[in-house]
Symmetry: C2
């Protein structure tokens, strides 16, 4: 069996993003036991780092030993019981996935839909809540990875709160790239991934539960349907140090080394500096794309700097351009999903990928590929 | 924030085991996209390797992007619908966890219990199935990590099949360390982990479904309650190469590099050679322990070579011995769980940890620690 040697790529798709060498190096350190006192201290550090990047005081802030889609499922299976009414704001793939989660739990789904490529309309949410005053949970996607749209989470959560609802916010692609304020914006559950603006490899995720959310979990009538994602069991595993922790599963030790390093790097840079860097590099990308005669799908005020949905010119085969960029330039850019399949490219500028040299390569490679 | 530098340990607990440097090195290779053609080829390779180590022709053989406890949940949520009768054979922590999975799904649980430290009694299973002829699924643990006991999976599955049941086998600690024959033994779902006899870091798991099991999943009346663990969605993601794959989640790219390398190493050594090595090194450990006046909990014919449950002498504080082994010798050995808490040590000889030098260190360190 020949050893696998991946060709080094520049990752400018919807994730994973380029992983910083510091993070790769941290993950190749020797594996220690998941109940080793040194690992318990690492877990404590990670929880503190996570509170800093989520801008929250939430006790129930922890990594999950599975990717972002499991974090989404964890948010819903813990907060929603069969029969609970849930308003899901959907304007892309990940909003629709939230709806599917509610269905599988047996929740009563109220879908508030907006067109793909547009943000969630706060007025539609308000109307839905007026019509369904018995709604218990409202969910939304902060940064829709499928469309490159940012929704106004602060405003949406304010509306949800005025109707007494708990709020779930998907910020898999948001955290670190654009402002996210868990406590100040009244978010009850927020989650994110490692492979976007944190620039660690994919595989694990980050989640935080407010006191109100934790209260809801504790007062459930039925156990959480997933044993693996049950918050109460997870907290007993992640809580305390040394002998105090209760065995649940075996934590992905080396992936946690990487998460710790990724969070350390984000905190060294500073959250605002990171948001500003993403905005600045996005501007450079936009200028370069305009120079090639290309344009965005999303209106300027709703664009995510870290994920850019670009219209493919009518006469161009989008797949062949991506194929050539990968084969000739080792440059990965993403394809469209759902209604955008075959019509757009998704260009990511997330975390360590949000660098001037990446923009430069992307523009010059696209120029050559488009010239045919 | 200071970088995390774990102290190198010798891992002889119940997992993770020592990770071979080849595997750590493979995981620090550059991250590529999860839809990159090179990654698709890696996924195809891994599925082939997995069929070789599980000794199966099953099409539905794939890694899961979460640890072994999620693989257990995946087996149950896919195969069991609410109201289905399930016989769970339990003789330790992981059998009891299976029972908890059945309860959370709303299955009708029939528990066949054997004392901790003893194997599952085939006659009890036969009696239970006579009493419950409408049983649909029978589950059991091949290698009980909490007790160091091997059960006779071949015989148990034969009985289950004679009653027309599907079989689920947990071989998280078994695979690679002792014989496991998925097809020849009529196992419908088997799963394992990376951090035991495969000697890769914890974080992902391996699972295989027979045609009959896949048929059951396809003919379900209700969708699988977990979106993240739904076999149909996972197979669409793992199937085919290049453009044929349907996006589900983002695979843990670097962890898959490690799994590929770990499976390659096991196949290079050969399955039988690996089983024989574990048996041989276990014998050396046993001789050393007898020399110290220590003894096993489990009767010789039911012992797992890779996980050894050792009685702690009455006058000895088991925790202080483990603490000293870790602090003075950087040697991790495990504590007891459940009924064995405080009364035993669990000494792992799994995968790369099953080496003569590890036995030597363990015996001499224990000798010194026990001398006080």
């Amino acid at each position: 069996m020949v050893a696998f040697s991946p060709t080094p790529r520049t990752l400018m798709g919807p994730g994973p993003s380029d992983v910083h060498p510091r993070i790769l190096a941290s993950m190749s350190k020797p594996t220690i036991g998941h109940l080793d006192p040194e690992f318990s201290r690492l877990m404590e550090d990670i929880k503190k780092q996570m509170r800093s990047v989520f801008l929250t005081e939430n006790t129930y802030t922890l990594p999950l030993s599975a990717p972002g889609s499991a974090a989404m499922e964890s948010a819903f299976v813990n907060l929603v019981e069969p029969g609970d009414k849930v308003v899901v704001c959907a304007n892309g793939v990940f909003g629709m996935r939230m709806a599917e989660n509610v269905r599988r739990i047996g929740g009563e789904l109220v879908l508030v839909e907006d067109p793909w490529g547009e943000p969630v309309d706060p007025e539609k949410l308000r109307e839905a809540l007026k019509e369904h005053p018995d709604t218990k949970v409202v969910s939304m996607v902060h940064a829709e990875t499928s469309t490159g749209v940012r929704s106004d989470v602060k405003e949406l959560c304010k509306i949800a709160k005025s109707f007494g609802c708990l709020t779930i916010v998907d910020s898999v692609t948001g955290l670190g790239g654009v402002e996210l304020q868990v406590d100040a914006w009244h978010i009850d559950v927020a989650y994110s991934g490692t492979q976007k603006c944190l620039s660690a490899p994919p595989g694990i995720s980050l989640i935080t539960f407010s006191e109100a959310a934790a209260e809801k979990v504790k007062s459930r009538n039925q156990p959480v349907q997933s044993w693996f994602l049950d918050l109460s069991l997870l907290m007993a595993y992640w809580d305390g140090d040394g002998g105090g922790r209760t065995y649940h599963h075996t934590a992905p030790v080396n992936a946690m080394y990487g998460l710790h390093e990724a969070l350390a790097m984000l905190l060294e840079e500073g959250l605002e500096s990171s948001w500003n860097r993403h905005a600045r590099v996005h501007k450079e990308l936009a200028n370069g794309l305009f120079g090639l005669g290309l344009d965005f799908v999303v209106a300027e005020e709703h664009r995510l700097p870290q994920l850019n949905l670009i219209k493919c010119p009518d006469e161009t085969d989008e797949a062949s351009i991506r194929k050539r960029a990968l084969e000739d330039f080792n440059l990965e850019i993403g394809s469209g999903l759902g209604v955008f399949a075959g019509r757009v490219w998704r260009i990511g500028l997330m975390g360590y990928s949000a660098r001037k040299e990446n923009v430069s390569l992307c523009i010059s490679a696209l120029k050559e590929c488009l010239a045919g």
